[in-house]
């Protein structure tokens, strides 16, 4: 026999003392009464995984007790949760790493879920990194695909690495819980089922504000700052270097306006100062999943691709018929974006106004 070194892969069998860890949890990201949609996407995904394993889906909702928080607990059931762990304390009103970490560490150690999922958002990544350290367990960041290896009932978390040039599947074998963060809009939004209900486990951690060193002085909401809300747009018209010069971005904005969509750009355009970082789509920018993504003058580098390839329909416009974007776009149009974009704006405008007259 070889030494009992690190177990590898599917042949690994879970030690007896870790078998009491059961169920799949999603930590619901709630700030100021609104839930980040990634949390419901994850409840939907957890439902699929839990059905494979034959276990329950738990949703953990943390915050100060309020009617909004109760509504969120109800929503968790409609999206697929079986149990809601409702953790309430005035100290949890605003997200802060330290009290959230302490509370989550205790709740996980008490109820012992086998898998804990969070959104790969600023909150989720901040919290997951801290909890995985206190729990001394494995955490896989920014996953794009989750699956269960039934041989040993372990989570197989797949994520892009080296800027998306490679994918790797990562497992946490001899530790529990298995943790992962998942990018928003990678998993599809589950349908609501308003008839679903479940049980609520209330947790009162009894925290003291005096024990928390970090204080929230104020919160400056984005809507007051006029930033692009790219992640939630149904239609995105995106521009790449093929547009030539910053003035030509107007063509993209015109088309987006006719379609009621948002404008996205590739990283080089942000670096060249054409527009702000809030419009960047891709590995270091936002991941988007609109119903329609029109890519104008974008070659389709992997760093951009990972941020938009899950779009329902991708139309690529590029002068180079061999551009990599045509390998993963659904519709391709070989031509100069500078002439095609205004023509598209006209064509959509006409098509949509014809209907208004007819209607």
């Amino acid at each position: 026999m070889s030494e009992p070194s690190k177990p590898q892969g599917r042949k690994f069998q879970l030690p007896e003392h870790l078998k009491e860890y059961k169920g799949i949890w999603v930590i619901v990201e709630q700030e100021r009464g609104s839930v980040h949609s990634v949390s419901w996407e994850l409840v939907g995904e957890a439902r699929k995984l839990a059905d494979k394993l034959g276990v329950e889906v738990g949703a953990v909702v943390l915050g100060a007790d309020s009617p909004e928080l109760n509504a969120i607990c109800g929503d968790a059931f409609t999206y697929g949760a079986d149990v809601v762990y409702k953790v309430t304390d005035p100290v949890l009103a605003d997200y802060r790493t330290d009290p959230y970490t302490r509370v989550m560490t205790d709740v996980v150690n008490t109820y012992k879920p086998e898998i804990v999922l969070l959104g790969a958002t600023t909150l989720g990544r901040d919290l997951a990194g801290a909890i995985a350290t206190t729990l001394a367990t494995g955490l896989t960041a920014d996953c794009t695909e989750l699956d269960i290896y039934m041989d040993n009932r372990s989570l197989a978390a797949t994520r892009p690495t080296f800027g998306g040039t490679l994918l790797c599947t990562i497992q946490t074998l001899a530790y529990r819980p298995q943790m992962a963060t998942v990018r928003p809009r990678v998993m599809s939004m589950p349908d609501r089922d308003d008839s679903r209900t479940g049980r609520v486990v209330e947790v009162f951690p009894a925290l003291r504000e005096d024990d928390v060193i970090t204080k929230v002085l104020s919160f400056i909401a984005d809507r007051e700052q006029n930033e692009a809300q790219l992640a939630f747009a149904d239609i995105i018209v995106a521009a790449g270097k093929g547009l030539g010069k910053p003035e030509n971005l107007k063509l993209v904005f015109d088309l987006a306006k006719v379609l009621g969509g948002e404008v996205g750009v590739t990283r080089p355009l942000v670096q060249a100062g054409w527009t702000g970082f809030d419009r960047q789509v891709g590995q270091t920018g936002k991941t988007v999943r609109p119903k329609l993504y029109i890519a104008a003058g974008i070659s389709g580098a992997i760093q951009h691709r990972v941020g938009m390839e899950k779009s329902d329909l991708i139309l690529a416009i590029n002068t180079d018929p061999n551009a990599p974007i045509f390998d993963f776009a659904h519709l391709g149009l070989v031509g100069d974006a500078l002439t095609i974009l205004p023509a598209l704006t006209d064509a959509f405008g006409k098509r949509l106004s014809v209907n208004r007259l007819a209607g």
Binding site: T172, L173, T339, G359
Partner: protein, 288 residues
């Protein structure tokens, strides 16, 4: 004030190519750089040094060749540099990496108490954003990630006020030193090095530490200390079908006009997504 900036030497991800036959990363000839996200944190540390006075120590864990990145950081104005290198660290995941780096920061703190640790928001090769929070948790430092601005820092009162990016907006946080900070990208621009610092960087005697120097336990580093296992590495599957090309009739042998192409594209989009067409038409009909 003593500030430690953790940096990582990474391959320039923009220049990585996959070998078309073997499906492996072709590292040859890919230049090594300081992880771009680390530079925002290094610059912020240097600004604090300029403003209130501080000793800035850069720390990296990696193979001996990571010395290049440390010297680069020194040339930009860091005072000291530590290379944490040991074959036993090979294969460390984020939990083991944060453990090893923490052991080095604790040792640095014995020389001069560390008040601030800066890390990059994430790396461009691993992309995990987990090592910073891991270090903060292990040291018991206040954790401040995705910081867009350091509004004030009061050495006497040991207080710091920062702006932190969150999903719906910006949190203004006040907390006490010691803290671990990761800066959001685009919040500052890394300076050019001064001539004096470049000369100093070239001559500087790097501190090279290993597992035993920092007292790191062997079971907590490397593969042994890493809960995660990479079970498969593969190249993303290309979509089975390439894009359907939009084509349009042209009256003569010339290329079809932009108008004809656009009209064909609109029909193709609405044909592929009838639901989307309905929504857009409904919205247009409602005069929105």
């Amino acid at each position: 004030m003593h500030i430690v900036v953790c940096i990582k030497q990474v391959p320039d991800s923009a220049q990585i190519r996959i070998h078309p036959v073997t499906n492996t990363i072709m590292r040859q000839g890919v230049p090594a750089i300081i992880n771009p996200f680390d530079l925002f944190s290094l610059e912020e540390a240097l600004r604090i040094k300029d403003k209130v006075g501080a000793r800035v120590t850069v720390l990296t864990m990696g193979p001996p060749m990571a010395e290049t990145s440390l010297r680069k950081a020194l040339s930009l104005g860091a005072d000291d540099a530590v290379l944490l290198t040991d074959r036993k660290f090979a294969g460390s995941d984020t939990l083991a990496t944060s453990y090893a780096l923490t052991s080095a920061i604790k040792k640095l703190s014995e020389e001069e108490q560390v008040d601030l640790v800066f890390c990059g928001k994430q790396t461009v090769d691993g992309d995990t954003a987990q090592v910073g929070p891991g270090i903060a948790t292990r040291l018991g430092f206040q954790q401040l990630t995705y910081i867009t601005k350091i509004e004030s820092i009061d050495q006497g009162a040991r207080e710091i006020v920062v702006h932190r990016r969150s999903e719906g907006g910006v949190q203004v946080l006040k907390t006490a030193l010691p803290c671990m900070i990761t800066m959001l990208e685009g919040t500052n621009t890394i300076r050019f090095g001064k001539m004096d610092d470049m000369f100093r960087a070239a001559r500087y005697g790097l501190k090279t530490w290993n597992k035993d120097t920092t007292g790191a336990e062997e079971t907590k580093v490397g593969l042994k200390g890493s809960p995660t296992v990479v079970s498969k590495v593969f190249v993303p599957k290309p979509r089975a079908q390439k894009a359907t090309m939009v084509e349009a009739e042209a009256p003569t042998a010339e290329a079809p006009s932009a108008e004809a192409m656009a009209a064909a594209a609109v029909e193709a989009i609405f044909g592929a997504q009838p639901k989307l067409a309905d929504e857009l038409l409904a919205r247009a009909a409602a005069g929105l």
